[in-house]
């Protein structure tokens, strides 16, 4: 078994056995349950309103997934350093790629479980509406590169800062910045600056694709540009993480 896979399995097992992972998944489940129960109280929904709710659930899952990736990524290097277990790991015959992919492997496992937990909610909310199949597929297709990108980014900051607090603060600020146009509303996003920001923002790319596919029933061919933005984000974040771990000195 490759060193990266060994490390990924250890990271995944640690999430379960240390209790952090289960606590986080429980929090995700409670958030989605709250959203779903709000929906149950409204019986006058149209197809469109129902599609809006499916879109909201998808957006919530992606945002929480990105937050989880930031929490895990910020701890990945700096957390081990603070606990004293980083040096023995760095002294094992692991390449930079092994360490980066191994750490991300744990995050990928966490995202996969979060996605599986979200599926019953998407089904429960969207099965009588429209475009449920697209919702499930797009959440995986766009959610995964966005979430893993945040994971790589936070991992890189973790290696550079050497402190969990510093890496977490910087990662969260970036996450909030990238999510801010969605909070500010469509008016501000119509300006030239807003449109440019929207075009290069991986978070916006994912959410706009969810909107297009689930609410407006547009085909995948119209989302390829946005998929490209998400994949470029993933590639850049991976490059940043790799460079940061490579330059790591104890």
């Amino acid at each position: 078994m490759s060193a990266a896979l060994l490390l990924a399995r250890k990271e995944s097992a640690e999430l379960v056995k240390s209790g952090r992972g289960l606590a986080w998944l429980l929090a995700l489940s409670v958030a989605l349950s709250a959203l779903s129960l709000l929906l149950v109280s409204n019986t006058e929904l149209s197809l469109l309103d129902n599609a809006q709710v499916v879109y909201m659930v998808m957006g919530t899952v992606t945002a929480l997934g990105a937050l989880l990736a930031v929490l895990l990524g910020a701890d990945a290097i700096a957390g081990e350093k603070e606990r004293g277990s980083l040096v023995p790991l760095l002294l094992a015959p692991l390449s930079t790629g092994d360490i980066v992919f191994g750490k991300i492997g744990g995050q990928l496992a966490a995202w996969a479980v979060a996605y599986l937990i979200a599926l019953p909610y998407v089904w429960a909310v969207g099965s009588s509406g429209q475009n449920l199949g697209q919702a499930v597929a797009y959440l995986a297709l766009f959610g995964t590169p966005v979430v893993l990108g945040f994971g790589f980014y936070a991992l890189g900051l973790s290696a550079r800062f050497g402190s969990v607090r510093g890496a977490l603060a910087a990662s969260l600020i970036t996450l909030i910045l990238l999510a801010s146009p969605l909070v500010l509303g469509p008016g501000l996003r119509q300006s030239a600056v807003g449109r440019i920001f929207d075009a290069v923002n991986p978070f916006a790319a994912a959410l706009n694709s969810f909107d297009s596919a689930v609410i407006d029933s547009q085909p995948l061919s119209m989302q390829l540009g946005r998929l490209g933005v998400a994949l470029v984000w993933l590639a850049l974040a991976f490059w940043f993480a790799r460079r940061s771990v490579q330059a790591l000195e104890i």
Binding site: L6, K10, S85, L86, P88, L90, L91, P93, L94, E249
Partner: protein, 247 residues
């Protein structure tokens, strides 16, 4: 698994060769002229007061810190550029050695062994643990271990891959006198019976006198002495490390 091709293709008798090592942390020179030579089958004591640069020297030898200049050769490899190959052939016990506290000792050693490309069966696992005085039947989480037990586990981890060079930073920390003696016997066996080189970084001059054939004394980032242990070790050590006041 990283094959140990480069390290085994040439088997120099001189395991470590360091000359004029300079290391900066930020813009501050932490090491400014360290030299060190370690031969196969030798136990070398690296001494120095707190903040002298011992741990930084070990970091440079193990590829965890990049030298600014100087020559560093460990098992014939450049530690910074051939890090992975080097790590496959050496064992290191750092001074601050943390563990995955949710694992048990057997789980921990088995996992680390897999990183070295080894699978530990029950017999091999028992041998690794008993060599350092740990109970192979103990399935409790490492988080419940005392400091001494953790130190022994760290040593077991450092010896997992049967290394040709073992670098130990304060290996007897937290151990009682019996435990220290047991570790001494392990280290002597490594050097004498297997021809491994041992670089021992410690404050305990008793350990140095019992184990080491040669020593190096670092003070203020520079090697002040390198040679046989000799007589009146404590007096000479205090003289060498007091030279700053005189200077």
């Amino acid at each position: 698994m990283t094959p140990n091709c480069a390290a085994s293709a040439e088997r120099p008798a001189r395991l470590v060769d360091v000359r004029d090592l300079v290391v900066f942390i930020g813009d501050r020179p932490v090491l400014d002229g360290v030299r060190l030579r370690l031969e196969a089958g030798e136990i070398y004591g690296l001494l120095g007061p707190n903040g002298a640069g011992k741990s930084t020297t070990i970091a440079a030898l193990t590829g965890l810190r990049r030298p600014v200049c100087g020559k560093v050769s460990v098992l014939g490899l450049d530690p910074w550029t051939r890090r992975v190959a080097l790590h496959a052939a050496i064992g290191v016990l750092p001074e601050q050695s943390g563990f995955y506290e949710w694992m048990s000792a057997p789980e921990y050693l088995r996992w680390f062994a897999r990183l070295y490309g080894r699978r530990l069966d029950d017999t091999a696992l028992r041998a690794q643990l008993e060599r350092v005085g740990l109970d192979a039947a103990n399935r409790k989480a490492i988080g419940t271990y005392s400091r001494g037990w953790k130190q022994r586990l760290g040593l077991a981890r450092a010896l997992l891959n049967e290394p040709r060079l073992v670098i130990l930073d304060e290996p007897t920390n937290g151990l009682d006198p019996r435990g220290r003696r047991e570790i001494h016997d392990v280290l002597l066996g490594l050097a004498r019976d297997r021809g491994a080189g041992v670089l021992l970084c410690t404050h305990l001059l008793d350990d140095v006198e019992r184990l080491c054939s040669r020593i190096g004394v670092i003070h203020e980032g520079r090697t002040r002495f390198e040679g046989p242990v000799g007589e009146r070790l404590e007096e000479r050590y205090l003289e060498l490390t007091a030279a700053r006041a005189a200077a």
